[in-house]
């Protein structure tokens, strides 16, 4: 496309936006509202996704072996556990390892525990991971039945609830965002329909004197894309700014296990890019719908 042609399309598209001012305000307002909500949902969903990944990577169970168990009992137990097919990783942790871990977890105050090195009150244990966090419950049940097992611990409630919550949140988010996006697309396409109707005479003359169809369509795509861009400015400010603030205030104080906020950098840039992208896409999508339907060229 020639530079002069491109300039003309941008000029005409901008003119359409100004000429149709109150329809444009309505559409841009709808895009703004939509994208603010989309942005909040996306921020939530990305973080929930991260949470799911953390659960998947970190969720493990600890099988405490009876203190009375002999070495051969432990070996027998290990063999038995190994036969469970859902297990992806298994690692033996002797009571000495456990104590060491405990002391280092405690940091400074861990020093007092060093006394116990004389008489270690802890159990030998197996650390076990499953392929999927959902498999933890079943595996735990099986192992609890085995001999020489004192306790199986996997934070049952927390893991189960997080998994369920994550699933529900994801679906509600997808449905809600989908509905909002469709509404915004519809409003944009309606605005562009108005522009097309307002410019009917002009379009007729363009066709008559031999303007190419693409030439006639371009200003409407520009108009749609511009509405998308305008509609994404406030959402980017609100979502990126809000996230940045929340991250700096609360990142270290969230008491949910496995949960950590995605670092503000690069996340706010990513989400800004995504919001701008969604704005442009729904803008162009809305104009394509109208151009197809009303611009018989």
């Amino acid at each position: 496309m020639k530079l002069s042609t491109m300039r003309r399309h941008v000029r005409e598209g901008t003119k359409n936006i100004v000429r149709n001012s109150w329809m444009t305000v309505a559409s841009v307002g709808a895009v703004t509202t939509t994208l603010v909500l989309v942005g909040i949902f996306l921020a939530l969903m990305f973080n929930l996704n991260q949470l799911a990944e953390n659960i998947e990577n970190e969720a493990q169970m600890k099988v405490y072996v009876e203190r009375t168990a002999e070495d051969q009992d432990i070996q027998a137990l290990e063999k038995q556990i190994n036969e469970i097919s859902d297990i992806s990783e298994m690692e033996f942790s002797s009571k000495e390892d456990e104590l060491e871990g405990l002391i280092s977890d405690m940091g400074e105050s861990g020093d007092q525990w060093e006394l116990f090195e004389q008489f270690n009150p802890l159990n030998d244990a197996f650390n076990i991971k499953t392929y999927e966090p959902e498999q933890l419950a079943g595996v735990a049940n099986q192992i609890e039945q085995m001999d020489n097992v004192e306790e199986v611990n996997y934070m049952k409630d927390v893991v189960d609830r997080l998994i369920a919550f994550n699933d529900i949140a994801r679906w509600i988010g997808i449905i809600f965002i989908g509905a909002l996006l469709l509404t915004a697309i519809f409003l944009i396409s309606n605005t562009i329909k108005m522009t097309i109707i307002a410019r009917q005479t002009e379009i007729g003359i363009m066709k008559l004197v031999g303007a190419k169809n693409s030439f006639i369509r371009w200003p409407f795509f520009v108009e749609g894309a511009l509405m998308g861009v305008l509609g994404s400015i406030i959402p980017i400010a609100v979502v990126a700014g809000g996230y940045y603030y929340l991250y700096n205030q609360f990142a270290d104080e969230i008491p949910i296990p496995f949960f950590e906020l995605l670092p503000a950098n690069p996340f706010i840039w990513q989400i800004s890019g995504i919001l701008l992208g969604i704005g442009v896409v729904i803008g162009i999508w809305g104009s394509v719908m109208s151009v197809r339907k009303f611009l018989r060229v």
Binding site: I205, V209, K212
Partner: protein, 232 residues
């Protein structure tokens, strides 16, 4: 050698509800000819003309412009067909917010003509239709005849091979009509083929050209240097 500019072979145009606007029409128009299409309202003149620049598609038959079949032409070729044909209407169809100059320039801008050439060419045609002095006027500051001259300038600014006019003097008084006809004569003298549908008995009878008379979608008379006819 005469070149056939417009060729229609057994052409039918049926609108929805079974209206047969053009009913088996065969005709040749040579390059450089000046042709009147006459006939009562509803005879099919406009439908006949619209098939030439593919505003309407023939239901059956072939429409050829410079040997190219317009009916089965690819959609993306239609704009290029229209660049070879200038069209003028009874109601001028000017853009009200654009000046005379801008209305004419518009036709070149939208076909992506080199911006440097547009200025010069627009002034040339405005001069030819006698409106160079009023280039900056808006349509509502111009008389009907002047508006029609702007429309003619727009139709010929791209040097089309054919000019089609559908009752171009229908809204004008007789004296103004003659000014318009003089411009058509001049365009024709320069070699452009002209097809003009008209109701004006006076024009057809005084400025003698080929006359194609239509009734009920059919050609009932086709005479060189013909007259309007008897029905008036």
């Amino acid at each position: 050698m005469l070149l056939i500019m417009i060729e229609m072979k057994n052409v039918y145009k049926e609108y929805s509800h079974g209206v047969m606007a053009v009913d088996g029409l065969t005709v040749n128009i040579d390059a450089g000819e000046f042709v009147y299409i006459v006939g009562a309202s509803g005879a099919g003149k406009s439908s006949f003309i619209k098939m030439m620049y593919r505003e309407e598609l023939a239901t059956k038959g072939e429409v050829l412009i410079e040997g190219k079949n317009v009916t089965d032409m690819k959609l993306k070729d239609v704009p290029f067909l229209r660049r070879d044909i200038g069209v003028i209407f009874q109601d001028f169809k000017l853009l009200p917010r654009l000046t005379a100059f801008e209305n004419v320039a518009f036709a070149l801008e939208v076909i992506e003509e080199n911006p440097k050439k547009i200025n010069k060419r627009v002034l040339e045609v405005l001069e030819m239709v006698g409106l160079k002095q009023k280039a900056r006027f808006l349509p509502n500051q111009l008389s009907g005849g002047e508006q029609q001259r702007v429309a003619i300038a727009r139709a010929i600014v791209n040097n089309p091979k054919i000019v089609i006019a559908d009752e171009p003097t229908g809204n004008l008084d007789p004296e103004t009509s003659w000014e318009i006809m003089r411009i058509f004569e001049e365009i024709n003298t320069r070699g452009t083929t002209i097809v003009m549908a008209t109701h004006s008995q006076e024009i057809v009878n005084k400025l003698r050209k080929r006359v194609i008379a239509m009734e009920n979608g059919q050609i009932v008379r086709d005479e060189h240097r013909g007259e309007y006819g008897y029905e008036a």
